[in-house]
Structures are given as structure tokens and as C-alpha cells.
Amino acid sequence: MQWTYEWLEKTVRSLVSRTLSRQTSSEASFPGEYQSDQSEIFPLLRHEGMESILAYRKGKPITVAQFLGEVSVVASTLPTRKYVLNLCSDRYRFTVVLAAALLRRQITLLPPNDTPELLKFLSAQYSDLYCLRDASDPVSPFIPSVPYPDDAVETRDFMEIPYFPVQQVAAIVFTSGSTGRPLPQVKTWGSIVRSARVAGIRLGVFSHPGATLLGTVPSQHMYGLESTVLLALQHGLTLYSGRLFYPKDIVTALSVVPKPRVLVSTPVHIRALLDDETELPPVDLAICATAPLSPHLAAAAESRLGAPLYEIYGCTEVGQMATRRTVKTEEWSCFDGISLRQDKKGTWAQIVHTGGDVLLNDVIELRDPGHFLLHGRTGDLVNIAGKRTSLAHLNYHLNSIEGVRDGIFVMPDESGQATVRLMAFVVAPALTQETIMDSLRKRIDPVFLPRPLCLVESLPRNATGKLSHDAVNHLLTEFAER
């Protein structure tokens, strides 16, 4: 079916008129009421008016009306498929495609990386998948690719704010399973909107009305999606379209965007920013996630940025769960609607509004159901630069390479290092380091590539075939002495 502007408008109008009265009551009851009515609907955005600024792109403000106009045009050009891989690196365009996909009832897939192996997996699992990106080259031979329609901006305004049902599946994010198969985590529109609203209240974004969110994390990362895109949409804030990477990018963006400004970043980017000596335009609020920040670094960042810095704790399965202001306390406080409990298996996060119960992969010291200390990850889990996987998953891929007889990934002692790197010990008499690295590159995210990969004659496995902690430490010591 060909989608037309009129069709869209009619659909959205009828949806809005059918549910406006209900929306008023459900809106008013938030937050605090989590036993939600499954027929509820949430708006795409909550800006004050059509002329509010939704984004800054290439130095120009984009109003809500312009954004909605672009969404309607992009929605009408999307292929009739069920799943979309939204790889737009421009944050504004990512948001347009996300909204257009919601209008078309398409589900956005957010994979942890774009390695050829993973894209092949996605194309096999989601046969009705296509990719939309703001670059011209196709992402994978297995996935049909559509470029962002550059002329979408030349359009008349689409004046209605769309509402979507809480149960509508908005996105599927993936975590890496231990067998090498990514595990899909379904995110409904209701769950991501509620989460963004609770987070905004906790972070006090109401004290900075109309603030611009400047992010160093990609929109495709769960943290980026929540804290740069949905936080802006659901709190009437402005998003900065460029993805900031180098310290100079952050400084330049901060100096062109008017106050109030919120920096959404990671420990890696914050440390780089602190190492850079350029004077920084002050921000009003800083948010950091993906890995714990040391109190020392947090204090340096607060003083340099001239703003309070809040860390967010979360995981792909649950999304954002807790915050702490690191310079004030080491204790994390859960968001309203999230409570933790422990049993023999570990720590579980209970999501009140969905009744969901998720086993966390971190070592947690619970003070009460809403407060805890974080003591690192559980044994097998690896977290580098906000990307998470397990050693089992990496070992699976290493040992799947033809010619690898045995192999193991090892996480060296990370104390005192800014960025942890994995090592691998591999038995593969017929292969070279380069060929193994080439094969790994096709299978795993580059941040997990071993540095270095050591070829050895055998691994010191014990009689039961296991590698003891001592044996692994011995390998590391031997390597260090080489």
C-alpha cells in the first residue's frame, strides 16, 4: 500500500481524537502510577508548542512543526517492511526515522555493532528487515538499504503530534548471549517513554527548561537512545544533531548552542575532555554512563564543566535504573518504579509497571530495595566503552574459527588503567595472528578485539579440561615477561 500524507494525517487525527480525553487523565496521573492501563497512549513529544525548538542541526534550529513535517514525509517514503535498522549517525535524522517507523508500525532494531556476522544474523532472523542510513553505501549485501531522503525537509508542516499505544513495540535491542547468538530485548513505546520521564524527573531537567542535550554516545546505544533522544522528546528539550567525539567537537558545540546545556557522555569522553586544556563553556548538567566513574574524575569533571554530574546505572535488558551524584555519594538510588531484590542466583531488578524481573550481571551490595553499591561485574562479564559481552561469547567466536584448536580470552587486571583491553591466547598451528584477527573482526565488535593475541603451543588446561584462575594468571605473567 502506498502511504500518503493524507492517509497518515487521517490515521493520526482519528487516533488523537479517539483518545485525547483518556490521555489527559493518564498524563495527569504520571508519575507514581505504574499499574498502567494497556490501552494508554503516549505522545511522540511533549514540547510546549509547534514553534518550540526540537533540534539544532548544522547551526540552525528546527522547530517541532518542521520536525513533524519531515517525519510525515520520511514515513511516506519508508519501504513496506516490518523491521528497520536505523543507522543514521545524525541524531536528528535518527529521531525522524524512529518517529516515522513508529507511525508506520515498524520496529527499530538496535544491534550492538555492525559487524558482517551480526548483520548476516539479523537478516536471517528478521527477513523483513531493511536498513536506513545517512550514508550512501549499503551496509550489508544481505540487507536492502535505503538512503535518508535528503529532500524530506522541503515539505508543508504536519501539525498534529502523534500518539502511540503503550504496547506498541518501538525497538528491539540486543544483548550478546553466551552462545554467540544475540538475544533480543523488546522495548515497547510505553516502557521507553515511562523510563525517559522518570529519568528526567530524577535528573531535574525541569530546572533547565528548553535545555539542549549534547551527546557523545550514538543514538543506537540504549543509553544514547534514552538520554539524548527520548529525554529530549519527553521533556520538551532540544537535541543537538551532531555526534560529538573529539574534545574539540564538544567545545565547539557548547560554544554555538545557547544555554541551558546538558552534556550526555561517557567516562572515556569525559577523561579526554579533561585532558584537553581548552577553556570550556559551562554546562548546566552533565550525565555520564556506560562504566563507573571514579569519584576523583567526577570531581574534576564537575569543576571543569561547572555543573553537577550524575551517573546513570542501567543495562540493555532493563534500561536506565538508578543514578548517583558521584561527588556526593557512592550509593546508587533506583528510579521510581524499579526495585531490587537478591536471592541465591544474584540481584534481580523488578520493573513495577511491567512486572518484569531481570537478573543483573553486576555484583551489587543492596542497602535497601531502592539503594545499592556497585562492586563491578560478575566474573564472566566484559564491559568496554559501554559495550557489554561475556568471555563465553568471545571464546565461542574465537573457537569457531577454522584452524583454531583452542583459545581463550582473558581480562587482565584492570586497576589503574584508563581503558581495559582484552588479551587472547590461541592454539592454532596453521594460522597466523593476522588471519585470526581478520576472522575475529568479522565476528566481534572491535572494542573486544584482543590486544594482543598471543599464539601459544597449548593452553595449561587441567585434567578436567578447565583453565584455573592460577593457570590463566601464569599465562599473563609469562607474557608480561617476554
Binding site: F245, D249, A272, D438, R441, P446
Partner: protein, 99 residues
Amino acid sequence: MDIPQDNRTVDVTADVAQERELAQLIVTTLKLKIEPSDVDPEAPLYKEGLGLDSIDILEISLTISKVYGFKLSSDDENNLVIFRSLRSLNRHIQTHRVK
């Protein structure tokens, strides 16, 4: 029709020395367990070849700013081209260095 001639002379020795110095900086910054002379000047730095990722690129950008006195930015013409190889990164540095 006259064909414009490129009369610039390329000092190959200087290029090689600069590339070696840059390779040394990269190896030291990233604590790579290789010799600077092992870095192929034409091989990709990012992903394939030396296998660097975005965290490494950020680290290298800090070293470049300290040693060569200028800062990399995402607005630079094409970051993928700059980091295509040791050679292309060195050319970018030599054009923009202030130290």
C-alpha cells in the same frame, strides 16, 4: 593546451622520518606490543590493519594535540580519510601542526 606541471619536490626521507616518529607515538600512546617499524605506512589504522577502534583514535587525538599543538575535530574534511593509514595521518599532521 598546456598541462599544468606539478613542480613540488617530495622529500621522501623527511616523510619516512616523520612517519616513524608518528608510529612511535601511536605505539607508546596505545601501549601496543609491536615495534614502530612494524607499522605499515599504507595499511589502514582503523579496524583492519593495525585494528584501532574509536577509543584508540580518541587517545591518539590527545597525543597529537600535545605533541603537534593542534586538535582533531569531526568537522575535518573526512576523518576516515585522515585515519586511513599512517601515511595519510602523517600528511594531515604535517599540514596542520603548529609545533
